[in-house]
Structure formats: structure tokens, C-alpha cells
Amino acid sequence: MIRWPLFRRKSQPPLEQRPFDLLCITIVVVLGVHAPHIPWWLTLPLAATLWLRWRQRHQRMGHAPSYLKLPLVALLVGAVVFHYDTLFGREPGAALVAGLMVLKLLETETARDARVGTAFACFALMSALLFDQSLVATSLVALGLLPAIATLRALEPAHPKSTTLPRDLLPALGLLGASLPLALVAFLFLPRLSSPLWGAPNAAQSRPGLSPDMSPGNFGEVLLDDRPAMRVTFEGTPPPNEQRYFRAYVLGNYDGRTWRSLPRAGTTAAEEHGPVIHYTVSLEATGQRVLPALDIPVEATANAQLGPDRELRADNPVNDPVTYRLGSAPGYHLQTQLSDRDRSNALQLPAGFDPRARALGARWRTQYGSNDAAIIQAAMGLFHDGGFSYTLAPAPLGTNAVDDFLFGTHEGFCEHYASSFTVLMRAAGIPARVVTGYQGGYWNTMGNYLLVRQADAHAWSEVWLPQRGWVRLDPTAAVRPTRISQGSAAANAATADWSPNHWWLGWRNRWDIVNQWWNQGVIGFNSLRQHGLLTPFGVRDPSVGMLGLVLAIGGSLLAMLGLWWALWKRPDRDQARAAMQLLEKRLAAAGVARRRSEGPQHYLSRAARALPNQRAELEQLMRTYLELRYAHDEPPTDLLKNFRQATRDFRPRRVFK
């Protein structure tokens, strides 16, 4: 009977221990990469199940009882539905995939089961990247592919056995390494989708960071968060530290507790401004739409809108790291003419809150008349000399938050100062608003870029002065000038028990360069950059077909390289035989092929007869070969050299009869 591999069905022998172990390791990695977004009370039982199953099979080759499987699947589905209220979506899907992966192990008894499990594990590993595509997460997932490949390898019978488990992973590493060039070509030239085929995943997951509103005290967490928020590369000299204000949200609407954005109205009027600084921002995923920009951006980037208050908003939430190029003018005049509506908005204060602060503002107005600068001076002086202190752990504030802060606790951080300063300004009749964003950052000299961390989040005020327009004022600077000149780390040094260790800092900066490279080079690689790859070759705007062609050419070149490797034969160690084989090849091309049963003497004399005008040469070659082979124990080197030279020079001339 003819058996065809594709259609064979037969009972399979039980799985060996080594592939089972490797599969278990793969699933441990799957659980590991999914653990951050699966509730711990699900992860722990899954890990326990995995461990029990491994022990059970390791000790007595036991099978998991079949009556357990269905209830366990039901339990898993129940737990996911209980926690997420649905089975669909990113998080429930991930929990379900990781859970099913572990349960699949319960019924893994044959090679076929293990193959299905491994393929499924690859899928589960990839799905973890939907949550986090940082360098660390990607490396972890790539490491998870090693045991997966090693499992498939160990499933083949009569494979080279290795003694230890880690040694099994080495060939997998080799295979992945060898496939890297092809993977890179595919990655670079695979045509990207212009628009998603189905909805992008909802980034409901809240990321800590700047929020679209501000109430004094809610920055506390962010200011201790050391993760990078964005990295900025300047073209030309970077602005001095005092000018590194990156505005994100402009908040003009106060309800006594929280500052919120005003509804966006009007268009961006062209403003006169000084020289423009151009720079590129790599923003980490925020889940928000706002794009921080150096004060103040002069034009919007693609896929983003610039509001009249110079708040830059992307069209879509930033769920993946993005890179954008901007131009900003530090010496600006913003909105020198203020409309009545804007003015009343910028003076609005909720009724019934903070009577003492309003009274103080009104007193300043009567005291200084129309001298706005003097009022501002008075407010700054109050913060500077009024016994205020900067702390990240201020006392809680009551209903009249600004009054409590100004006349009671006297301690707080940027939010408290910006909020109360703005309230004071409004009470004194000066249009004012709160701006949040980032200030400062760490200049990475090795990478030549500015690293802005979440801890650099900041809030400040803007007041409107006639003829001058909106002017940035930072009351925090009045309290703690180091916050502005040296950055958040210096300002927080008193509260956070963190002492800068230069050695540690150096490594952290190097690590940050790698992350910057990853974010810009890999995660930020979009169709725009893809098209840019072909620009040096004169292709301006490559079509999908063009990219496909480049991909096919690159793939074919690499395939040829691979074929060369697969077909490559080690040259024969026996030089005389190698030379003889060359001769045979040439003679065969001339029509005298060596027969299988033919000895060298017979063959070469036959060749001499077939090529009569080269008879003497061929007979000489034959004699030399016979002498080399049979006359000496060890062939003399000069004779061998002569023979090799002679075979190399010999070109059979066809005889045309």
C-alpha cells in the first residue's frame, strides 16, 4: 500500500520526557509574559497546575484524569468572565489564551499534542506584545521562542541527543540567528496596512502619567515615577534648562477643586515669534491624545491639530510609542489680542470657594491699581517669603483648597503653587490659566538627547498681559529654584530617599540610549520611514507592488545564500583525488564520462583515444596519477603539485568529426 505523509493517521507513541520539559518551559514563559496583565489569583493557580502536571508526568508518567479537563476549562472561562465581564477583548483574551495553554498541557501525551501546544504557545507569546512592546518585553518573548523551537526539534526521532536542557536550546538559538537576515528584510519591506482591517485595541488600560485634568495632589504618584516619558533630540543647540518647558495640557476651567480644559474654540492665529528650534520627540505610549511640545509649538505635525492655546492634540490616542518632529519658538507672543469670551473664561472663578484668596487678590488690585506686573511680583513674593516649602507629601487640603494651602499648610508641590497662583491672578483680575506638561529632563551626553521622565511632570501658570500676550510664570521657581534649574531629582532629593549614584546613573543612561534606539528604530518604524528607506535609490513613493518586489528580491538573494550553504560540499582532503575529479568533470563535459566500474587507467586511456589530439597530455596525466596513487607510500609533494597544475591547465578540445 502506498502511504503518503500528508494523509497518514496512526497511533503515536507516548511523548518523551525531554520535549515535555521543553514545552513546560515554553508555557512558563507564556505565563510570565502575560502575568503583568492577568489577575494574580488566576496566574498562581495556573502556575500551580503547571507544576503539578509536570511533577506528575516526571515521576510516574501519569495521565491527567480526563474527568478534570472539562470542569477546569469551565472554571477558567468562568473566572475570566467573572473578572472581565466578557470573553472578548484584549485582556480577557490574554487570560483565556494563557489559561488554555496550561490546560492543554493536561492532555499532552503524544508528539502531535506537543506540536499543537507549541504552535499555540507561539501565538500566545506574540499576543503578549499587544500589551507591551518595550525592548525587555520583546526580548522575553524572543527568549520564549527558544524552548518552543527546541520542543519541535526534540519531537523528531533519532535527533542528536544532548545531555543537558540548556544545550537543547543552543541549536534553536542558531536557527533563530540564521533566520535573522531574512526576518530583517521581511520586517523592513513588508508593506504596511494603510488603515487597520479592524478596530485597534482599546487602550482602556490606564497608564500612569499626565492626566487631562489637574487637582492639587494628584501628581504625587507621577512625580515619583522614574520611567521615561519622552526623549527629545534637538537640531542645533538645545535650549537652556530654564526654557525646557514642554506644554501638554492647557487648563482654564476651574471648579474649586479641579482644573480642566476649556472646550476648544477658534483657530490658530498666526503669531509673530522669534527664531524657531526644530527637534524630534519620541513619546512613550500615553493612551492620551495630547502631544507634549516645547513652549510654544509654531505648527502642527501630521495627524495632529494645534489649538489656539497651543495645545497639540493627535487625531488618535497614543497607544504605541510615536515619534514626531516639531518646531517651537521660545521667544513668542501668544494671542496679543484677547477676545471678550476668552477673557471672561480666563477670569472665571467658581462662586463660594476660597474667600480669603479672592479677597487677597482683590486687595492687590486696589493696592497696585492697573500695574499687573506689581501684582505678579506680590504673588511671587508671597510664595518666596511666606514660609512656603516644597514637598511631595503635603498635608491634605479641605474644601477651600487654595485658602487652606495659602493660609494654612504652606506646603505642596508644583500643582499647589500653579493652582493657587492662578486663582490669585484671576481674583486680581488678570486673565490666567494652568498649563501642565514636563519641565527639565536629563541631558544624555552619550546619546545627545534629552530624556524626560514621568517624574519631570510639572504644572505652571500663564497670565495674559496686554501687548505681551500669554506669559509663562512658574510660581514653583519662587519656592524652590532648584526644581527648575536642576530638575525634579534635585528638588525631590529631600523627600525621596534616593541618592544619585553616578555609577548607577551611567548605566541607566546607557540603557536609556538602547531603549531610545528601540523605540525610534523598531517600534516607531512606520510606512513613512519604510518609504524613506528607498529614497536613496531614487524611489520616491513606493507602491505596495514595489515593496513586494524589493521583498522578493531580498528574499531570493537570501534564499540563494541558504541554498549555497545547503549544497556546499567540503573540498576533498585528498588533493590527488580532488584534482582527478576536476579532470573527470572537464572530460565529462567534453563527452567522455567515467563509468562507474572504470578504473583510472582504463578511463584515461579511453579518453586519450576519444581525444586523439590531446593523447600525449592525457597519457602523461594518467601516468602521473598512477604513480601518485600506487608508486609511493606518501605521494611526493612536487609530483602532486605538478599533477594539480596539469589538471588545472588541461582543457579538453572537442573533436568534431
Binding site: 505523509p5 506584545l129 540564521a178 533566520s179 531574512l182
Partner: protein, 318 residues
């Protein structure tokens, strides 16, 4: 479905002799090279490709470059494994086929001797009539694979086509090559299960007696009258009594002169079966036999090689 498949197979074997098992027999050694190794994805390979496509679509849809990169890596690894599968077979040589003896109806042990090329060949399967043996050959190494060849009739039986295949390294691709050694094995006739013993003219039921032989049969205790030179002095030194070398042997069995012509009442095949049974019985007790056949005349002899000689002659009969 089955019928269509069968017809497709027939068509393929007729049209693509190099691709399928209909390769003409060839002489040893047989070298596997790129012109006779074929590769198709396995069912698992197909499923894995679908999975990769799903992952690729997902990564492109969410413009998730990290996932895209790793999917590309996995895909490239899968493609590279095709070359590894090919290389696993490429350069492998079948250098020799050794075989044992078998009577018709019983499997014959074949020993296929494979030699490796300049790299190792991992996870090769030799498949013959549904029987699969997995083996690996090291670089320049040699490995002997034993397989059982089922036999049916006595006489020359050509070796079947053997499929060498490998799913190495990931089970995604199935690389195979058909080899058909130009060699035949001789299958001995099956002896009949029962029947009369040969009628021997000289057989008169003489008592078997002992006689002096050349070889030492055993050591026994000294009895009065044993010649002195038969005493085993060395062995006796380790015992309390004297030991004597016993040269006595049972007398060799009466020889059987088997003759084709004596069985003229039977059809030829029955004659062969009966002669085979007698040869077997004689071989079992070490009885010398001679065999006269129309093709050849084998003089008296005994032992394994004599038996094989006789059986070969029987097997070769027309």
C-alpha cells in the same frame, strides 16, 4: 475522495517517475543529491503557516512592530528549516545491503549500510512496506539499519523501493527520496510440515555405539584399566580423585543421500518442500547429507554452510 486520490497518485507516478517511487533500480552505492530529494510541507507545516499568517495580519493590523519582527523571525526560521530538512538527506549514501537467510513466508533481515557525507544527518527514516526505522548518521560515519523484508515465495526476490525521509528539524517540512537498490535476495523454500522420512537403503536400525574420537568430550573419574596417558594431570591436581580425558563420542549419524529422482511421484514444488524438510531435520541433528538435483549435485557434508548451500540450490530451482 479516496478514489480521486488514488487516481491522482497513479497519474503522478506515471508522469513523474523521478518524484515518486517508480525509479528504475540502480546499483550501489546510491548517493542522495539535490536532483532526487523532494520537499513538501507537512500537515503541521501547513497549519503552522496559517497560524503565522494570522499573527502577521494581527501584527500589521495593530501596527505592532515588535510582534511583526518576531513573526518574521519565526517565519524565516520555518523557511530555513526547509533547507535543513533538505541538507539532512543530501549527501547520504547507501553503500551496502547485507541480508540474512529466510524461508518463504518469514521475514528476512536486511541490513542497510548508510554512510554520511561531510555533515551529520539527523533524524532520517527508512521506510519499506510500512515499516519505519529512524536513525542518524554522523559526518563520514556509518550506520547499519536492520529491517525485516517480508517474503512470500522461494527464489530470487528483488529488493523493494525504500523511501528515505526526514521531517528534521521542526517537523514543518517532509523531505524524501526513493532509493531502489538493484539487488535481489534468495528466499529459501518453505519445508512441508510433515511427511515420511527418506527411505535409505542402508538404514537397518543399528544401535548407536560409542567410538574413539579425536576430540576431548569430557572429563570423568578414573576407572581401572584407563590408559595412563589419558589422565588429565592438571585437572586432577585440583580434585581429590584422578580425572581421565574421555575421548569417546557418539558415532556420527547415518548419512542421508537425498535425491530429486526418488520423489518422482510428487509435483516439483512438493518435492522441493519435502527435500527442504529433510535437509532441515538432518541439519537439526547434525546428520551428513548429500543432495542430487537436476541442476547440481552436492556431495556429502554437514553444518550450517552446507545446509545453506543446499537450500540455495533448492531455492534456485526453476
Amino acid at each position: 475522495m479516496q478514489e480521486a486520490l488514488r487516481r491522482f497518485r497513479h497519474w503522478a507516478e506515471r508522469r513523474l517517475p523521478a518524484l515518486t517511487r517508480y525509479r528504475r533500480p540502480e546499483s550501489l552505492p546510491i548517493l542522495l543529491h539535490q536532483r532526487r530529494i523532494y520537499i513538501v510541507p507537512t500537515a503541521f507545516g501547513g497549519a503552522f503557516t496559517v497560524l503565522l499568517l494570522i499573527m502577521l495580519t494581527g501584527a500589521l493590523n495593530y501596527s505592532n512592530n515588535a510582534a511583526l519582527m518576531l513573526t518574521c523571525m519565526l517565519g524565516a526560521s520555518a523557511s530555513a528549516s526547509m533547507l535543513v530538512a533538505f541538507r539532512s538527506l543530501n549527501g547520504l549514501r547507501l553503500t551496502n545491503v547485507r541480508h540474512g537467510h529466510a524461508i518463504a513466508g518469514e521475514p528476512m533481515v536486511l541490513q542497510l549500510v548508510f554512510a554520511g557525507g561531510d555533515h551529520a544527518h539527523a533524524s532520517i527514516h527508512a521506510e519499506m512496506d510500512g515499516q519505519i526505522e529512524a536513525f542518524a548518521v554522523t559526518a563520514q560515519g556509518e550506520v547499519v539499519v536492520s529491517m525485516n523484508l517480508p517474503t512470500e515465495h522461494r527464489g530470487w526476490q528483488p529488493l523493494p523501493r525504500i523511501k528515505l525521509w526526514s521531517n528534521w528539524p521542526l517537523g514543518l517540512f517532509h523531505a524524501w527520496s526513493w532509493i531502489h537498490p538493484d539487488q535481489s535476495v534468495l528466499v529459501w523454500p518453505h519445508p512441508e510440515t510433515g511427511g515420511p522420512p527418506p527411505a535409505m537403503p542402508a538404514q537397518d536400525g543399528k544401535q548407536q555405539r560409542l567410538h574413539h574420537g579425536e576430540d576431548i568430550a569430557a572429563l570423568r573419574a578414573y576407572r581401572a584399566g584407563d590408559p595412563q596417558r589419558h589422565i588429565a594431570w592438571k585437572h586432577s591436581a585440583r580434585h581429590e580423585s584422578l580425572l581421565v580425558k574421555d575421548f569417546e563420542q557418539p558415532e556420527a549419524q547415518e548419512e542421508w543421500l537425498l535425491d530429486w529422482r526418488q520423489l518422482s511421484q510428487l509435483v516439483p514444488e512438493m518435492r522441493i518442500e519435502r527435500l527442504a524438510r529433510w535437509l532441515g531435520e538432518a541439519e537439526a541433528v547434525g546428520r551428513p547429507t548429500s543432495l542430487w538435483l537436476p541442476s547440481e549435485d552436492i556431495s556429502l557434508g554437514h553444518g550450517r554452510s552446507h545446509y545453506a548451500h543446499c537450500m540455495n540450490a533448492l531455492a534456485r530451482l526453476p
